[in-house]
């Protein structure tokens, strides 16, 4: 079945986009399911002239934005509150806890394990509109033109948001004591 092929091909990338957007695994699972249900229900609205992934990420992004809007009404964000991404993984440390970490770094795996929450924290510190652009470009492989389509802004605005996102991340990573020089090689996720 063609649909099953599509689901299996795009499920994980879409899930990662949603997970990084929301920072909460349980919520991301819900939104992932809602997104695919929406794909089934709105199949007749899909225009083959657009890339399927662009349409798919538009649906996923709209679900994320709607959910975030609802959640925002419910809870106020706080630096002292455990970040949702960490909380959902059973880690109740606050971002401040990571600033002073006296534990030694025995090897690269342990190092990666230690910095992962910091990277997640850095991502979640971005404003929503910058985060979504960064996620779509960096992890989902969408071009700036496609990002503009998904987010409903001009390509220049998408690029501008990306510049701000990169600059904000650079500063945040510096503050958290994380630098890009430990990367094993020059690899990036996409692009």
């Amino acid at each position: 079945m063609a649909f099953e092929v599509l689901v299996r091909r795009h499920r994980t990338p879409v899930f990662n986009y949603i997970f990084r957007f929301t920072g909460d695994r349980a919520r991301a699972e819900d939104i992932l399911q809602e997104t695919w249900l929406k794909v089934v229900r709105s199949a007749q609205d899909y225009e083959p002239k657009a890339r399927f992934t662009t349409w798919l990420y538009t649906l996923a992004r709209n679900q994320c934005v709607d959910r975030a809007r609802r959640e925002k009404l419910r809870q106020a964000d706080s630096l002292d509150a455990p970040r949702p991404a960490f909380a959902s993984q059973g880690d109740n440390r606050t971002p401040a806890d990571f600033l002073v970490d006296p534990s030694p770094v025995p090897d690269q795996a342990a190092h990666n394990l230690r910095i992962r929450p910091l990277l997640e924290q850095a991502l979640l510190s971005l404003p929503e509109e910058q985060r979504e652009v960064f996620l779509l470009r960096e992890y989902s492989g969408q071009s700036f033109r496609e990002i503009a389509e998904v987010t409903g802004v001009s390509e220049n605005t998408a690029k501008s948001r990306m510049r701000y996102a990169l600059e904000a991340l650079r500063r945040q990573l510096e503050q958290l004591g994380v630098e890009g020089d430990w990367a094993e090689d020059e690899r990036t996720v996409t692009g």
Binding site: F3, V7, V14, N16, V40, L119, E138, F144, G180, A183
Partner: protein, 325 residues
């Protein structure tokens, strides 16, 4: 000097491989001579290298089967197409809805008819208890107004007038067209039967007491529907003058209806007494004296000391004194 927005956009495009080959070559040439742009590009690459360490999280398997099942179901529905839906609507839903509507209409109509009949009988019966006292002769009662119809059988002209009046939809019009004449005892039942609500108002002038008030109230709330009007006309045909000339079956039907109501309905004792009295009058009007006597006896026996019992007693005596019609 920091790169302009335009340069930064170019750098972004270059970092993400979105520049065309000539554009990329041109930028590379620029980078050799521009340390700011080179540093900016390096910053972008650093952030990318760092953020690339975030691992890919596998999507959960939960929900995948149900999603695929849902998609299959949706695909089957889509294949069936809208024609199947309209087919279903046309051949199943539409007739079902129509049938349901008809059943509802019948049930509602029956209920309304029953309620109207009952309230009509009540509005007729209630004032009769109170009006059992003799009517003053000078009072221009409905009874006196309706009496001339009795002459219809004797005068062809009046017969024509009465026939016209009977064709009229309103019983009240029939009453108003008739010229007032001296009331006759036998006309009273006819007047009551013909137009109970009109009867209740003048009759209540004659008497005082709670029963009269209640009779007015009941008369006032009695439905003035078409059904009531039909009932009223049906009864009018059986009114006293008409009793002598008109179809007896209308009177018999009214008697049967009243008996049926008394038999099947749960009534308050006062309502029951009133209806029994009404039945007495109808039975006397139909010359079924023995049944009328026993009905009056029943009222006297079952409701001793009540106004209904007094009324029944007077009615019985009056009819026993009067010569048989």
């Amino acid at each position: 000097m920091s790169p302009t927005d335009h340069d930064q956009d170019k750098l972004l495009g270059y970092a993400y491989g979105e520049l065309s080959s000539p554009e990329a070559k041109s930028l590379e040439a620029h980078l050799k001579n521009c340390p700011q742009c080179s540093r900016a590009l390096e910053d972008i690459r650093k952030v990318r290298r760092t953020m690339a360490q975030l691992p890919t999280v596998p999507a959960p398997e939960a929900g995948l089967d149900s999603l695929l099942a849902y998609a299959q179901q949706a695909a089957r529905r889509a294949q069936a197409g809208p024609a199947a839906h309209s087919h279903l609507w046309k051949w199943v839903l539409l007739p079902s809805t129509g049938l349901l509507a008809m059943v509802l209409l019948i049930v509602v109509t029956t209920r309304v008819a029953e309620e109207t009949h009952l309230s009509l009988l009540r509005s007729v019966a209630a004032p009769k208890v109170a009006t059992s006292s003799p009517l003053p002769q000078a009072e221009p009662s409905v009874a006196s107004e309706i009496a001339p119809a009795a002459k219809a059988v004797e005068s062809p002209k009046e017969k024509e007038t009465a026939a016209k009046a009977e064709r009229k939809p309103s019983a009240k019009m029939l009453i108003l067209k008739a010229a007032p004449q001296a009331p006759r005892p036998s006309a009273r039942a006819a007047a009551v039967a013909e137009h109970p609500e009109d009867f209740a108002q003048p009759a209540s002038k004659d008497e005082s007491g709670a029963q009269a008030g209640r009779a007015r109230q009941k008369s006032a709330v009695a439905p003035q529907s078409a059904v009531a009007s039909q009932e009223s006309r049906g009864v009018a045909a059986a009114s006293a003058p008409a009793i002598q000339r008109g179809p007896r079956d209308a009177l018999d039907r009214e008697i049967a209806r009243t008996q049926d109501t008394l038999r099947t309905r749960t009534l308050a004792s006062q309502e029951r007494a009133g209806l029994l009295n009404h039945l007495c009058e109808l039975l006397y009007a139909a010359n079924r004296s023995s049944e009328a006597d026993s009905t009056c006896d029943q009222v006297i026996r079952d409701f001793p000391g009540s106004a209904a019992a007094d009324s029944a007693r007077q009615l019985k005596e009056k009819n026993q004194r009067a010569p048989a019609r």
